[in-house]
């Protein structure tokens, strides 16, 4: 009786992987877009008033990440000059063909919602003279009068856009999961759960990023962290972390329990190739530890300083969890040769178009934009302040 052959890679699978660290970064950034938007929507649509201090900032953060979400893709394409063909000559049987449209729709939606949310301030400043006034006149789209009627209409549209934005965010990120989930050639990817897993981890990453940025910005601006707001974000994070991790692990458990032909290699993939990034980073450090930290940190009556500490550390760990998860899915899935008999290897280079250096640079750009936005728009003003 002969056993199963091992250690054989199809010759084209040798060497590097087709989707590099840029394709790890792409779902990471889109995830932050969707996650940050959900926080804004929790305030605008679900009436979570305690999130008021971050509601506007969340929207701006979502927009900033969205503005650079396509950059890793462009850097990855081997013929980037033809990128727009995805929209000009789309092949609609491709899961990827919808990207341009869904993405553009979402970016426009975010931009319009931001212009409406900040409309009062923009109109106000449009009356100023000089270049500054001109900038705000452009942002006011030329209409520099506000009446109670127009204000009411703006608010109505903000609600409408937020309501549309929720399914749009789900589509945007669920869709990213579908790009992987729909590849039947790859047993590590091919599961109907993939879109849902991506969506939950997107929300997790967005909320975690907001917690971090909120705490940092408060320090930077020398104002006190709003305890209720932070606590609310930590509770949201805790809930979605449980959901995301449960789904991620259930999917694996299911594969392990079914013990199909692919499991022999997938279990080896986890044990040998992804041991550190999966077991330690994604599972222990990124999921278990923040689960406990958040459980403690969201208790009522906790000392605000302790809450800030626990929130910040959990936020950071969860961001690492999601980055590890993206890596494990995108890179992990490609390490297994299509022969299902051996493993490829991939160590990202630092230099080069698809290197870590450029990836870090691209990842820093949304923060630069967010900072710029904070200079021209009052991101920290709350509606309550408006009312006064």
């Amino acid at each position: 009786m002969h056993g199963q052959p091992t250690e054989f890679l199809f010759p084209n699978d040798h060497g590097s992987v087709a989707w590099t660290v840029m394709i790890v970064l792409y779902p990471y950034i889109t995830g932050l877009v969707a996650g940050a938007f959900v926080v804004a929507a929790l305030y605008h649509v679900f009436g979570k008033k305690e999130l008021a201090p971050v509601a506007r900032f969340a929207l701006a953060a979502s927009f900033s990440f969205c503005a650079f979400a396509t950059m890793p893709l462009l850097l990855h394409l081997h013929q980037p000059q033809r990128a727009f063909n995805i929209m000009f000559t789309p092949n609609f049987t491709s899961a990827m063909a919808g990207f341009g449209f869904i993405y553009s729709f979402y970016l426009i939606l975010l931009a319009v919602e931001i212009l409406l949310v900040f409309r009062d301030d923009i109109v106000d400043r449009a009356r100023r003279g000089g270049v500054e006034g001109l900038l705000y006149k452009v942002l006011a789209l030329g209409v520099t009068t506000q009446t109670p009627g127009s204000r009411a209409l703006d608010h109505k549209w903000i609600s409408v856009l937020s309501v549309i934005g929720i399914p749009a965010a789900c589509v945007l990120h669920g869709y990213v999961g579908f790009i992987f989930g729909g590849v039947k050639a790859n047993p590590w990817w091919s599961t109907a759960l993939m879109p849902v897993i991506f969506l939950c981890s997107a929300i997790v990453s967005g909320v975690a990023m907001l917690i971090l940025l909120y705490v940092l910005a408060c320090k930077f601006r020398r104002v006190a962290v709003d305890d209720e707001c932070l606590r609310s974000m930590m509770r949201t994070l805790w809930l979605f972390l449980i959901l995301a991790v449960a789904l991620e692990e259930l999917e694996l458990l299911n594969m392990a329990y079914e013990n199909g032909s692919e499991w022999a290699m997938l279990s080896r993939l986890i044990a040998e190739k992804l041991h550190f990034s999966f077991t330690w980073l994604q599972l222990v450090l990124g999921s278990l530890v923040p689960f406990f930290l958040l459980a403690i940190g969201m208790r009522r009556g906790l000392h605000p300083g302790v809450r800030i500490g626990l929130g910040t550390v959990s936020g950071l760990l969860v961001l690492i969890q999601v980055a590890a998860m993206r890596w494990n899915v995108v890179i992990g899935g490609q390490l297994l040769s299509k022969s299902f008999r051996g493993f490829n290897s991939y160590v990202p280079e630092f230099g080069g178009r698809e290197g870590l250096g450029v990836a870090l640079l691209v990842f820093s750009l949304p923060f630069v934009l967010l900072f710029a936005l904070s200079r021209i728009l009052p991101l920290w003003k709350t509606d309550a302040a408006d009312a006064h």
Partner: protein, 289 residues
């Protein structure tokens, strides 16, 4: 499986019945299929082959400009539609690697990338099974140490190439339609359209696609489309000294490939994925993927 060459009249209607063997032919096929089906249960095998014929014809749906000098049959009244197929008889392969060399020369394939390759399966008496390839030098397994017959149960070679599937995941996922199928069922890539996203590389279950280092676009075996439309054989088929690789029109009952397909038990790779390869195999074992 494709429509078999011994074919029912509906798969290969006489010339006078097929004034425009494209859309109208399908309609007739469908009508005939239904009436046969209604008449008798014994028509079941016909139904199956009809459905397959439809699929294969669908697979052969051309991009607008894919008609070729010899095979633009769909346009010529009364001519049969050519549907290319490929058969690998692994029983005959000796692992000489001539095909790989010919392919590299014919298609200017980069050194470390492969449109075709040959795998060697070695079954040892102690239960081990080892698979390897020979991807350097002249690609001949002669360069490797000889196997010791005393410790080996059996060993054989399996050439691999694009399967030119009927249900192609690679064409399905291409976001810009750069991957397409010709009228004759050949899966090709338009290198002027490909954006190099590599989604097709991920989607092909057989590892046959790669991003060509030289062209920076997706690449894979074309069954030497530039040759076969002129009536020549693919370079690998031409040089194979043992007749392992057979290429031809599977819609022509008299072609070599049709005869071998009809008379033998035929396999395809990873059939469970439902891609319905048109590159077929003889002599596979369960270990070959």
């Amino acid at each position: 499986m494709s429509c078999k060459p011994q074919g029912c009249p509906s798969c290969h209607p006489p010339a006078d019945m097929a004034p425009d063997p494209s859309r109208r032919e399908f309609v007739w096929d469908a009508i005939r299929t239904f009436s046969f089906g209604a008449l008798t249960l014994t028509a079941l095998p016909i139904l199956v082959s009809e459905a397959d014929a439809d699929d294969d014809a669908k697979a052969a749906a051309p991009p607008p400009d894919a008609a070729s000098p010899t095979t633009g049959a769909g346009k010529d009244k009364g001519k049969r539609t050519v549907l290319f197929g490929y058969l690998v008889d692994t029983n005959k392969c000796i692992g000489c690697g001539s095909c790989m060399l010919a392919c590299k020369n014919e298609n200017d394939v980069p050194d470390d990338q492969f449109r075709t390759w040959v795998e060697r399966y070695v079954y040892y008496k102690d239960g081990r099974v080892e698979v390897d390839t020979c991807t350097s030098g002249n690609f001949s397994f002669d360069q490797k140490p000889a196997l010791d017959p005393k410790v080996v149960d059996k060993a054989f070679f399996v050439p691999k190439l694009c399967n030119h599937c009927v249900e192609t995941p690679c064409i399905q996922v291409c976001p810009v339609g750069a991957s397409f199928m010709t009228q004759e069922g050949v899966v090709l890539i338009d290198h002027d359209r490909c954006i190099g996203c590599a989604y097709c590389v991920q989607a092909c279950p057989f590892g046959t696609r790669f991003i060509n280092h030289k062209t920076n676009t997706a690449d894979k075996c074309t069954w030497c489309y530039h040759r076969v439309v002129k009536g020549e054989k693919p370079a690998c088929v031409e040089v194979c000294p043992t007749g392992t690789r057979i290429f031809g029109d599977i819609n022509d009952p008299d072609s070599d490939i049709s005869k071998v397909l009809a008379a033998n038990r035929i396999d395809v790779l990873k059939s469970y994925l439902g891609t319905r390869p048109k590159t077929r195999y003889m002599g596979l074992t369960a270990e070959v993927v």
